[in-house]
Symmetry: none
Subunit: 131 residues, 2 copies
Amino acid sequence: MQIGELSRETGVNIETIRYYERSGVLPTPVRQDNGRRVYGASDVRRLGFIRHARNLGFDLQSVQTLLALQEQPQASCADASRIAQAQLDEVEQRIARLQSLQLELSRMVAECRKGMVAECRVIEALDTPLS
Amino acid sequence: MQIGELSRETGVNIETIRYYERSGVLPTPVRQDNGRRVYGASDVRRLGFIRHARNLGFDLQSVQTLLALQEQPQASCADASRIAQAQLDEVEQRIARLQSLQLELSRMVAECRKGMVAECRVIEALDTPLS
DNA sequence: CTACAACCTGTAGTGACTACAGGAGCAAGA
DNA sequence: TCTTGCTCCTGTAGTCACTACAGGTTGTAG
């Protein structure tokens, strides 16, 4: 399969696929005689993995670490778990902060609806540290 | 207060403060005779707000919108309400996305803890995208 | 033969920083 | 007074993870 089909199959931009190759997170593919890249099923899987990991907020460095772990199945899962846990901690922090902002914004909207001049406390909502 | 103190007070890099000024999210400050920037308490608050909003994943454009909301004179309450509602929608979407992410990450970590090394599911979890 | 899609390389732009070069101001100590 | 060292200044360039585009080649359908 050529790069266009891989792109359609995975939903990853062609330019992005070439970028992933350049930055080493995708292996350099075999080329046809005309120089075009040839991909297989394993590339679809790998690229799907990368896309999903990126959506979860892993940077390409972490993705590469996870892929390396995958290729060494006997290696400990502690590394992968540690990376995931770090992401999880950050995600939970973000959720908490967003919920306090959500509260403040909905309060403002509600006050505005009532025709009152809301004294805006958006800044305070974000300024006061969590918990 | 000079830029260094503002930086220490808010935890925002000096270079980043100047960048915020360049990109219009911080007002151009008064200068001393020697050309150095002078800041006050309002800048500390504003910069703290920017930092938190950025941590929440708002881009500088949205931060500027939120700040405009804050500075909105009582006049256009309907307008302010509309902006606040739009931000609220975005915040709620963001929370939902983060929560599904949180679920998956915590499942990954939990399975990794329970399972044996050979059966680590972290990578498999990333391989199968969310429905 | 022509049109056009799909591919190629290489470079440059984006957003939000971050680092660094090269210079100036200023306060304290020798 | 001179020097050291810190903070500040401007301006440019680098980073990450793309994304866009220019300018060229290849393949295929009409």
